[in-house]
């Protein structure tokens, strides 16, 4: 009995000793790991500090200005280029005429540029021309080819930028004005099926005198699936076909902001189109 007690206590002590031993080594391991981590943290902090200093050094306004003068065509801003937010009027419904949809061969080559657009360099048309063949469907892209054919479309630059950003997103089979006016194409969408009669009636009425070709076949403002969706992209193919037809002659004369066109007047006052 006595021996067993001794054995029990002895075993317990041995087990405790073993566990303690193991724990102590575990702790040592962990401590070493922690010390290593701390060293790494210090190293990282030091390199972050170096990077911060370098960032500040490179951001020295004196250097930045020299580089901007050397490599950019930007000028120092002037007070007249700044405007308080509340001085900008809300955009009226008809303030900005829709971008002129130039049918191939219709627009003049020398049509002036709208405001806010820098005079395009000679390389622009080449760029556009080079990019258009990359589109998957050349034939279908004929509707937007006027851009590359230098017909003096209203907005060559945004178009080019859109192509630059996402050449794939721009569908080659974009419904151009001509395509929209195409009855066979318009036939595919049945406004009657999509638009309730009450909503459709006024649009039909307003569209009828302007563009008889499209009237009745296509409800421009109807929430149809594809044409509007595509046309809402920054492509010179706006959804309302009647408006396109109405604006086509407007593109042939220099853009003058109308007295009602507050945004256009603002832009002209700021001198952005100079």
């Amino acid at each position: 009995m006595k021996g067993k007690t001794w054995l029990f206590w002895g075993g317990l002590i041995a087990a405790a000793g073993g566990v303690l031993f193991q724990t102590s080594y575990d702790v040592q391991d962990l401590e070493e790991k922690l010390a290593g981590l701390n060293r790494k943290i210090i190293l990282e902090q030091e390199s972050i500090q170096v990077l911060k200093a370098e960032w500040s050094y490179l951001n020295d306004p004196t250097k930045l200005e020299q580089m901007a003068q050397a490599y950019l065509t930007l000028q120092p801003t002037e007070p007249r280029q700044y405007l308080a937010m509340d001085m900008i009027p809300m955009r009226p419904a008809d303030a900005v005429p829709p971008p002129a949809q130039a049918l191939p061969g219709k627009a003049l080559p020398g049509a002036p540029l709208p405001p806010m657009v820098r005079a395009p360099g000679t390389g622009n048309s080449q760029l556009a021309a080079a990019r258009v063949p990359a589109a998957p469907n050349n034939n279908a892209a004929a509707g937007i080819v006027p851009v590359s054919a230098q017909v003096g479309l209203a907005k060559p630059l945004p178009m080019e930028k859109a192509l630059e950003r996402a050449p794939v997103v721009v569908p080659a089979s974009l419904p151009s004005g001509a395509a929209l006016a195409d009855p066979s194409r318009a036939n595919r969408i049945k406004p009657a099926a999509l638009v309730p009669g009450s909503a459709r009636a006024p649009t039909e009425k307003s569209a009828a005198p302007v563009a008889p070709a499209a009237a009745g076949k296509l409800a421009p403002n109807a929430p149809t699936a594809r044409p509007t969706e595509l046309a809402s992209r920054p492509i010179p193919a706006p959804a309302p076909a009647p408006k396109v037809a109405a604006a086509a002659p407007a593109a042939q004369q220099p853009y003058q902001p109308k007295p009602t066109d507050s945004l256009g007047l603002l832009v002209a006052r700021l001198g952005a189109n100079r």
């Binding site: 401590e31 010390a35 701390n38 911060k52 500040s56 200005e65 002037e78 007249r80 280029q81």
Partner: protein, 623 residues
């Protein structure tokens, strides 16, 4: 006990002594019968002695053992219970915000670093461990081209155990040397102060010595704070972009007019923050001693100058604030003022009486003197003290100049002070005081530390709101129709006051060395910022028709600066001719603030600009 077991005589053994391990032998049978008391007496004596001895020995032993064990127990208890569990070392994970450096960063108000401590590695060698010095030296020079081969070779083949090869390597250099793998060459961690903005903020931030102790600027002024809280950066009120604009324009002005120096300040009149402060020439804080020691002189805070006509701001404010003088009051500006040996005259005498507005517009010395004659010496002294012109500005920089104030303040002093001579203050004094004149009369102590957005700004009302309102109109009037026309920037409603002071060399005023300055503020309908430019000894050019006065030298610079910093400071552009703006800024020469009357000026059109020099005839000695 043993004794008892053996049945010894009970009287021999003492129970107290028998506790030890003493062996008491039984008494040997004696062959001779001995007298009864003797056998008992004799063994008793020897035994008692032995027992006594051993008893003492035992006690000593016990005492020693007890002492030692007690000491061990106490130490054990102290080590285990009182010394924090007896862990030899504790490993604690680093805090995120901790910094490894011993000196805090200094940043501008937007968080751009102006000064930071970088941990660098310095290269040293133990020549005993370098086996082939020639090869090692060749390799080192290859990696660090600015080292000299012979020098390195000499160091590496010497007898010493430690030589510095190069201090403060860049990380790239360190990697290059590390890659060489030369035995006996090692790195030592050191800290180095680094100024990313370089000379742009050198006069504000200052610099440190080799042991990273601040020797100038904020580095010195906040040395204790920077070393005690290395984790939190010290944020200044300076804006690096404004600093750049200011320095660029000042440098252009200095070059154009071949001046010897310039100072500029951009000041927030609403809370006393110094947004930008430049003093030219400046220095490179990485190498402050490498250049001309004159570059270390801070003209904006340490230099005290006679401010010239800029002081007419305070003269006019004093006149309005006493209530004795109104803006339409007329003062004679035709006849020179004679006091004692001195004669005070105007640079361009208009030979007629002027209103207060015209005195300010044409910067007439005579008119100013007549005004202060009416106000009195004591009032002027009290006012100038209130404006802070009798003690340093309280800016945090150690380089803060003491103004030179006349003592005693006599009548002649009051005359000259009225147009800015005879009292020398620093540009910072002038700007802080002018801010209080136009911001509604609240004096804010200038500061270089960014104010907390919700913090209380210590203020002191020094002039009345009505005075301040009139001073705004006067400022604006100088720019629309006075000497400061070239400071006008369309849209920002600039106002200001020119100043030109002849410099005193020895006892005489020099004719052709002046301090030309312009104190501009914008927008005057609701002043927010003061832009101050002071040019030291500008030389007239053909373009300025021979003038080197404040209106020709400093005012255009202020205009250019306002034009560039206005957008950066989010100051809205307004049309100056709208009724709201005119209501708060209009003033005409007759002293009328009613712009709707749009009266024709009651006087002839102002003469050519640049007529702002407050000058003495050369033969006089003003002091």
């Amino acid at each position: 006990m043993i004794g008892h077991d053996h049945g010894g005589p009970a009287g021999y053994g003492q129970p107290g002594a028998s506790t030890g391990s003493t062996y008491v032998p039984p008494p040997a049978p004696s062959p001779f019968p001995q007298p009864a008391p003797q056998p008992s007496a004799k063994p008793r004596t020897s035994l008692a002695v032995a027992l006594e001895q051993s008893r003492y020995r035992l006690m000593v032993t016990a005492a020693v053992v007890t002492t030692v064990f007690t000491a061990i127990s106490v130490k054990l208890a102290m080590a285990t219970l009182l010394a924090g569990g007896g862990e030899p070392r504790q490993h604690v994970a680093l805090e995120v915000g901790d910094t490894t450096t011993n000196r805090a960063d200094i940043t501008d108000r937007n968080g751009n670093l102006l000064a930071t401590s970088l941990v660098t590695q310095s290269l040293y060698a133990d020549p005993k461990l370098v086996s082939r010095p020639e090869e090692a030296a060749q390799k080192l020079v290859g990696a660090l081209p600015d080292l000299d081969y012979k020098d390195v070779l000499g160091k590496l083949s010497g007898d010493r155990r430690f030589v510095w090869l190069k201090r403060n390597l860049t990380p790239k250099q360190q990697a290059a040397v590390h890659r060489l793998g030369i035995p006996g060459v090692a790195f030592e961690r050191e800290e180095r102060r680094f100024y990313p903005a370089g000379p742009l903020t050198s006069h504000i931030v200052g610099f440190t010595g080799i042991d990273n102790n601040g020797l100038a600027g904020m580095e010195q002024g906040f040395n204790k704070r920077l070393t005690e809280e290395p984790g939190t950066p010290l944020q200044l009120s300076i804006d690096l972009r404004l600093q750049h604009v200011l320095k660029k324009e000042l440098a252009a002005t200095v070059q154009e007019f071949s001046a010897i120096g310039a100072a500029g300040i951009v000041f927030d009149v609403r809370n006393g923050e110094v947004l930008s402060m430049v003093s030219l020439p400046d220095f490179d804080p990485q190498d402050p001693t490498g250049l001309n020691p004159d570059t270390l002189f801070n003209r904006a805070t340490l230099g005290v100058y006679e401010m010239g006509s800029t002081f007419k701001i305070f003269n006019s404010a004093l006149a309005f604030d006493t209530g004795k003088i109104r803006v339409s009051d007329m003062f004679d500006a035709a006849h020179p003022v004679k006091i004692g040996r001195f004669t005070i005259n105007d640079y361009h005498n208009l030979h007629r009486a002027l209103t207060v507005a015209e005195v300010f517009q044409h910067s007439s010395n005579l008119g100013s003197v007549r005004m202060v004659q009416q106000v009195g010496v004591a009032a002027q002294k009290a006012f100038m003290t209130k404006m802070g012109f009798t003690k340093p500005t309280g800016l945090e920089l150690p380089e803060s100049g003491w103004p030179l104030v006349p003592n005693p303040w006599r009548e002649v002093n009051s005359y000259t002070i009225s147009f800015g001579h005879g009292i020398s203050v620093s540009p910072m004094h002038t700007v802080a005081a002018a801010a209080s004149v136009i911001n509604g009369g609240l004096f804010h102590k200038p500061t270089l530390l960014k104010r907390q957005p919700d913090g209380e700004v210590p203020t002191e009302q020094v002039v009345s709101r009505q005075t301040s309102d009139m001073m705004r109109r006067m400022f604006r009037f100088v720019v629309t129709e006075g000497t400061g026309k070239s400071a006008e920037v369309k849209g920002y409603v600039v106002g200001g006051k020119t100043g030109t002071a002849d410099k005193q060399k020895g006892k005489h005023y020099q004719k052709n060395s002046r301090m030309s300055s312009f104190l501009g503020a914008f927008p005057m309908n609701d002043p927010r910022y003061i832009v101050y430019v002071l040019v030291d000894e500008p030389q007239a050019t053909a373009k300025t028709y021979g003038y080197a006065t404040g209106g020709w030298v400093a005012a255009p610079a202020v205009g250019r600066i306002v034009k560039q910093i206005g957008p950066l400071l989010n100051v809205p552009v307004v049309d100056e001719n709208t009724p709201e703006i005119l209501n708060s800024t209009y003033l005409n020469a007759a002293g009328s603030t009613n712009w709707q009357q749009s009266l024709p000026p009651v006087t002839a059109p102002p003469p050519a600009k640049g007529s702002t020099v407050a000058s003495f005839p050369t033969q006089t000695k003003p002091r």
